[in-house]
């Protein structure tokens, strides 16, 4: 532990009065006392308590902070459900072209034709990839895509004079599904999974009635299983007038293999920051486009990018039945450029190969780990696998402990304790961009931890010891919240 020489500064702690990093132009218009331009009560009485640092302070501080992170560029990051694949550098170059980066959202349409064309093309590509009829690029992230989708379903029912109150969601769902549903004004009915991990059709049948607006499922589901009875599910739902929503978080498993539109889904969202390689950025920005079937088109968020007969692009605002807007402008455009670049880089064969290799990699991990960890499900998985640390738990080693030990062995941790229906869950998503060598190294580490659980659990409980900090006191953080820096009292 002595070997750790952690960097423990916040930018505020580097501050020295009189130091600065900015470069601002001289005033070139006639000078005037600010107080003569705006009434005194609007002028800040005291300067804000912000750092006074040099540019080299800034560069070194944030460079050093960055070294306290694991990222995909530096580490294998098998965080299940998050699709932490390699983020191509060319995407970044393209998103930074001045014609994209320095374009104002309210520039006249004639002066943003290239941006609108890119959006129109990307929406069309995503429609083809998903088998949907229309795609809105406006949602800022997956959860907002869900929100848009559920609101369109709500508007659809209302347009038919039906006020339905419930949305069905399996117990294996992401937390955003019930949270979104509640936000859209519905009550949530949780459905059971059957013993194989798929939707329990009997439970679905019991709960389907005329008060159900939608059934929201993840395909493949969060156990990494393709819902094999999907046609039956969508037919059962449609027979009761229930719309079927696909959470597209796991789209990386099905590119070119199957399409939600062909499976009977009415709505699905995409996470461009998962499947389509836009970077995760430490927690966003993402982008969560939403695809729909034609019957929901009147309710699409405004504005919609349209192309006229002359080949000119425009934003269409005249959509009286629209659910409205989700963010001030048109979508996370910078992310759209990256996703478009990726789709054009890969082409149709490349995208299919992505999913095939994602599935292969996940199954390889599952095979290599099944001797030492309990599988959550039988048979092959799709792009991710879930194992349980039940066996290790009996030895006093939890999923959290395993995650922490992995950090010491040079890997980010899988998603833990999710899905909620698996005890001590470890959800592992390798993605297609990782090589067999990396997967082997990770599996070796997992097997090593399983051995250590039997022979040296103390070592696991002490982990991590190589990270900038050791295990952190979460209870203290929540009980006495310290949510900002304060200058030490003199």
């Amino acid at each position: 532990m002595e070997a750790r020489a952690p960097y423990d500064k916040l930018i505020f702690e580097l501050s020295a009065p009189g130091r600065f990093a900015y470069s601002l132009p001289a005033l070139d218009v006639p000078s005037a006392e600010p107080a003569s331009l705006v009434p005194a009560q609007y002028v800040r009485a005291t300067a804000p308590e912000l750092p006074e640092v040099s540019e080299v302070d800034v560069i070194r501080h944030y460079s050093r902070l960055s070294l306290m992170n694991y990222g995909v560029d530096t580490h294998f990051y098998p965080l299940g459900s998050c699709t932490m694949k390699y983020n191509p550098k060319i995407n970044e170059d393209m998103a930074r072209l001045p014609g994209f980066l320095r374009l104002h959202p309210l520039a006249p349409a004639a002066m943003s034709q290239g941006a609108l064309e890119l959006m129109w093309e990307l929406a069309r590509d995503l429609a083809e990839i998903s088998g949907m009829d229309h795609v809105s690029l406006q949602p800022a992230a997956g959860a907002q895509g869900e929100f848009a989708g559920v609101l369109m379903i709500r508007a659809y029912h209302l347009s038919r004079g039906e006020r339905r109150h419930k949305v069905l969601i399996p117990d294996s769902a992401h937390g955003t599904n019930p949270a979104t549903t509640a936000l859209a004004g519905f009550s949530v009915v949780q459905l059971k999974s059957d013993e194989t991990g798929e939707v329990d059709l009997a439970d679905l049948e019991r709960n389907l009635d005329e008060d159900v607006a939608a059934f929201m499922i993840t395909q493949p589901n969060t156990l990494g299983l393709f819902e094999s009875k999907i046609h039956q599910i969508t037919e059962m739902c449609h027979a009761k007038g229930v719309q079927v929503y696909m959470d597209g978080a796991n789209f990386n498993a099905i590119l070119g293999i199957t399409r939600p539109g062909d499976l009977g889904f009415d709505v699905c969202h995409f996470n461009l920051h998962k499947t389509f390689t836009t970077p995760h950025g430490g927690g966003g920005p993402g982008a969560g486009p939403v695809g729909i079937k034609a019957h929901l088109a009147p309710f699409l968020p405004t504005p919609v990018v349209v192309k006229d007969d002359e080949g000119d692009y425009a934003l269409d605002w005249s959509r009286p039945q629209s659910i409205g807007k989700l963010q001030a402008f048109w979508g996370n455009f910078g992310m759209l450029v990256r996703a478009y670049t990726y789709i054009r880089t890969m082409g149709p064969d490349g995208l299919r190969s992505v999913s095939e290799n994602a599935v292969l990699n996940a199954n390889y991990i599952l095979k290599r780990l099944e001797g030492d960890y309990d599988r959550a499900t039988a048979g092959p998985c799709m792009h991710e696998c879930v194992v349980s640390a039940r066996r290790q738990k009996k030895l006093g080693v939890s999923a959290t402990d395993i995650a922490k030990r992995l950090l010491d062995l040079g890997f980010y941790a899988p998603t833990t304790y999710f899905p909620l229906i698996v005890d001590e869950a470890l959800m592992i998503e390798p993605t297609e961009t990782e090589s067999k060598e990396t997967l082997d190294a990770f599996c070796d580490a997992m097997v090593q931890i399983a051995r250590e659980a039997e022979t040296d659990p103390h070592r696991i409980h002490e982990a991590p010891v190589t990270t900038p900090v050791r295990r952190l006191d979460q209870t203290l953080a929540a009980r006495q919240p310290v949510l900002k820096w304060r200058a030490p009292s003199p």
Binding site: Y42, H61, Q113, T258, P279, A328, V337, G347, R352
Partner: protein, 447 residues
Amino acid sequence: MRYISNTPAQQKEMLARIGAASVEALLANVPAKARLSRPLGLPAAMAEGDLVRHLRGLAARNANADDFACFLGAGSYDHAIPSPINHLISRGEFFTAYTPYQPEASQGTLRTIFEYQTMMAELTGMDVANASIYDGASSLAEAVLMAHSVTGRAETAWSRGVNPLYQQVVETYCEGPDLRLKMVRLGDGVTDLDALGKAVTERTAAVVVQYPNFFGCLEDLRAAADIAHAKGALLVVAADPVNLGFLTPPGALGADIVVGEGQGLGVPMSFGGPNLGVFAARAELVRRMPGRLVGATVDKDGQRGFVLTLQTREQHIRREKATSNICTNVALCALMATIYVSILGKHGLRKVGELTVAKAHYAAERFAAVPGVRLRFAAPFFKEFALTLPKAPDRVVKRLLKDRILAGVPLRSFDRAEKSTLLVAVTERRTKAEIDATAAALAAAVA
């Protein structure tokens, strides 16, 4: 195949280990009926050089603010972006990490968010700020929902001085819980306080105003706060934090929740997204706040460290009872803002404000001196102002494009009553030469 690491030989080896004949065999759970029997109908893969040429072609068809004098605002602004920001955010350790679920391996991100929260709290004058919401509009929507959940009331008194695009977003978010916006008119560019007083009742959850407002005018927040608080409502203020190094922070004027679009803090305009939703509140409201929060704590050796905290508010724990459905937010944009504020620092943001306010007033004077053109409102403004033009603003804007000037935002599409109004924004980046040239071009266009 690009970005796929395994060789065909390795793929075979892996299949052998799995005991599957082919990848097809692994897809056994996908019924034949579900299979796509043809290749996706997408253009074939492009080599990098061809793709770059194609995208450069698309980019070249857009008006970029390096080649035009940009007076566009209305929620996105051409503020200068210091060079270090792009270098630092491009470090893969920041760029390719995700939500810091494993804090020991994410202290870099957690520390930058903690710094960001501190900076936003300081600029807004509030006790606590979260790790970010998507953009200013969705932040405001979350604020309205939060005011509803804090007060249990369903009405919001909404100033017509709030960005109409924000209004549309908030209305979308109000659909589910069936909340109502009660519109409060303006009197000469700012919220009519008498009308506001009449609109606010015991059923009002929040009073919502923008500062400076959509038309650039400065609202009397103190008076709005008094009206709100007298009836037990919260004052929600939408404010652009880049202005708050110069302007009195809303927190000092009685705001309970301050939200805003933080794009001006070093985030590129990028055709309107990604942006940065700032969200700050008084301390006693913290457990009702949406989104991530980072808190300080100690590790098992007693060393300082940072974690995501108060997570029982959030969807991954609370599910349908969460304070919001937000998961992925805009951490990297928050990092841009953190670096921006570090660079500008204690005094730089005030200087940005001083340059901005001086240039905006110079521009307003020059433009309003053009025959037939006048300032739409007499109320004090900061960096944005509305002009009444003698000719259709759409046509004037089109005419000035020839001089490589993006003259402003015609407001007709936002409000039919404003068919002669052009909204003009001036940042510290505009030069006297650009302003003078624009005044001359404007004179020619309306003559």
